[in-house]
Symmetry: C2
Subunit: 393 residues, 2 copies
């Protein structure tokens, strides 16, 4: 057989393995030091009580003949799709139930949706970028274009009329920069996509961190988006589902090209290559959207947002230029002392035993930036920031 040679074009991803290696070496050399990890974007709080109760109930159903469930609909049970539809409605966005596809997470869908496009598309991604957008398209052999995110544009690159792209990835609130597009900015992107017959793949995994009422939590709050945008969302950060695995993707029925419907193609892809999310997990997800579920999970988000505020305040106090941290769990700051991001990583680990993520791991525009996450205990966050202050004195 012939293997897919595009795989040999992939860059080895050393980011998190290199971080782990360095932290391991440091800890071995300094066994008495307490390392505080603010690198990986993984939640730390346990699942909400409402979710746990729903899981136990669903597990019992699976243990009883009368209530046992085998294969479910690949695109998700109606009880969950209805809950998601209502969640959007509360935010003022109307979505049809058959535009909602439940999945095991945004990463899977963001990767798998590339199946639906021909090789001959030009892909536009921001730099810094969540590496999955790039790697999944390299696997398909597509031409990639990068647009600069930088301090000048607040890490929110805008359309360039001289650039012709077919598939555009946007993530807002952004990973890794924490920057968040306004509705007016997203409108410019939608207009660009409609004019260029492009599709926007919109990653809204961090929407629950948006507290500013003026900022959009869904691209569909922008007129015209249902004709050009697919939206990926997840309960990973909204409800701490990183280990439970449930997301959802909105593929509007109004996106078509040369007689093919993207919604129908995605339905076909999912029914052919996927067998749905576990019933018990779908019941857990349904519980997230209940009144108590929303209350409990929003309290979890509030906890992380308060951590983000503590980090942001520290950046201000130390005169460190930063982005994000208000409508996002990520703080993206300029490395002090003009250091590059890997040097700063070593410096911070060595001096104060705090771990973050070097911006270089997200692209060339991250070379002098650094990502810290708010996913931690209050105690660790406060302690890490006290240490940080000593670092920049």
């Amino acid at each position: 057989m012939k293997l897919n040679e595009n795989y040999s074009q992939l860059k080895e991803s050393y980011l998190f393995s290199e971080v782990a290696r360095k932290v391991g070496a440091f800890q071995a050399a300094n066994p008495d030091k307490k390392v505080i990890r603010m690198g990986i974007g993984d939640v730390t709080l346990p699942l909400a009580q409402t979710v746990i109760t729903a899981l136990h109930k669903a597990v019992d159903e699976m243990g009883t003949a009368a209530t046992f469930r085998g294969y479910g609909p690949e695109q998700g049970y109606d009880f969950l799709r209805t809950a998601i539809k209502d969640y959007y409605k509360q935010a003022g966005v109307e979505i049809d139930i058959d535009e909602i596809f439940v999945s095991d997470g945004a990463k899977s869908d963001i990767g798998n949706i590339t199946d639906l496009f021909s090789k001959d598309n030009t892909v536009l991604v921001p730099d810094p970028v969540y590496p999955v957008y790039v790697d999944t398209n390299i696997m398909n052999g597509r031409n990639m274009l990068y647009m600069d995110g930088n301090a000048q544009n607040g890490f929110l690159p805008m359309p360039n009329k001289n650039v012709r792209a077919d598939i555009i990835y946007l993530c807002s609130p952004n990973n890794p920069t924490g920057a968040c597009y306004t509705k007016a900015q997203l409108k410019e992107w939608v207009d660009y996509a409609l004019e260029n017959k492009a599709v926007i793949l919109f990653d809204s995994a961090y929407e629950s961190f948006v507290s500013d009422k003026e900022l959009p939590r869904s691209i569909y709050s922008v007129e015209g988006a249902k004709k050009c945008a697919v939206e990926f969302c997840s309960l990973s950060k909204t409800a701490g589902f990183t280990g439970l695995r449930c997301g959802y993707t909105i593929v509007p029925k109004t996106i078509e090209s040369e007689g093919l419907s993207l919604n129908k193609m995605w339905l076909r892809r999912q029914t052919t290559k996927f067998n749905g999310v576990p019933y018990i997990v779908q019941r857990a997800a349904e519980a997230v959207f209940s009144e108590d579920g929303i209350k409990e999970t929003r309290a979890m988000v509030a906890h992380y947002k308060q951590n983000a505020q503590i980090i942001a305040k520290t950046m201000e106090e130390t005169g460190t230029r930063y982005f994000g941290g208000i409508n996002s769990p990520y703080i993206w700051f300029e490395c002090p002392y003009n250091m590059d991001s890997w040097s700063f990583f070593d410096f911070m680990l060595d001096k104060i035993a705090v771990v973050g993520t070097p911006g270089a791991g997200f692209g060339k525009n991250g070379n002098n930036f650094f990502r810290l996450t708010a996913f931690n205990s209050r105690e660790n966050t406060v302690e890490a920031m006290e240490r940080f202050k000593s670092l920049t004195k």
Copy 2:
């Protein structure tokens, strides 16, 4: 953007929707008749008690800060991969832990692995065939070849030296025919693959139904297979996990082509486009492989196998030629009265209110055959077979 035009080459899959439509119409016209469904290959028994206990325990862990788990390894937790390794070892097959990839089911992996091959491969599938093998390759635009399964070869097609194929799909015990390759037959396939530098994608989802000690439950019990075969397995039928979703795929490190390692490519694919199976489901899967778990789930399989025997005995009593049913939950029989499979479907539904799956849904060689499944209650199976006897009198 340009959509993947290969999708327009897919045939609409009317099989199960057409079955559902006909059954619905029949039930509406005959509201007093009890329809017995033996069509869809979905389990009916609830999860084993050991599995339920493991699920509750894992759910509690997820509700407590000290034991909560976020992102896990994409390829599965070591505790489960070790259990799978040991399960193979008990069957006399040695697999390295990093050759084992835990997934949400065999269908996902069988579909997704096509990512790893270039478009320029010739794919060989049996007819009758599980449609996923065909559709996933049509989506990639690959050339398809079919090999005849028929009554003469017992629905076990063997390699033809005049046919050059790069990717070969084998399913044993087979869906839909229930036929099972011997070790000597699989050896011929392995030899063919090695000679042609082809890869065998071996679907062993029904391995737990093999009770004949001489028949292979893994292709790796055949010498040379680790150089040319990927094996897909699932707990769907082994332990009734169709609604819980867990499978595993073995990608040997010894499969290479032009400097690329299939194992490394699959690891990269999974870490890029997948985030692993829920922790609680992996704990449930681990419980399946425990001593009690094996005992309880084998009892479930035995229940279905006894149903299969009842169906097989009925075929013998009515002089109906059939395949499968011994080392498989499927009975594949020749339609009585020289009927084609859809006519027989209508006839059986109309006369005795029993639903099966027309063989035509699996390819042209199924036109005069019919599939019944053993996934049912004893009572329903017995009643359906009593009715069947009246049909052929």
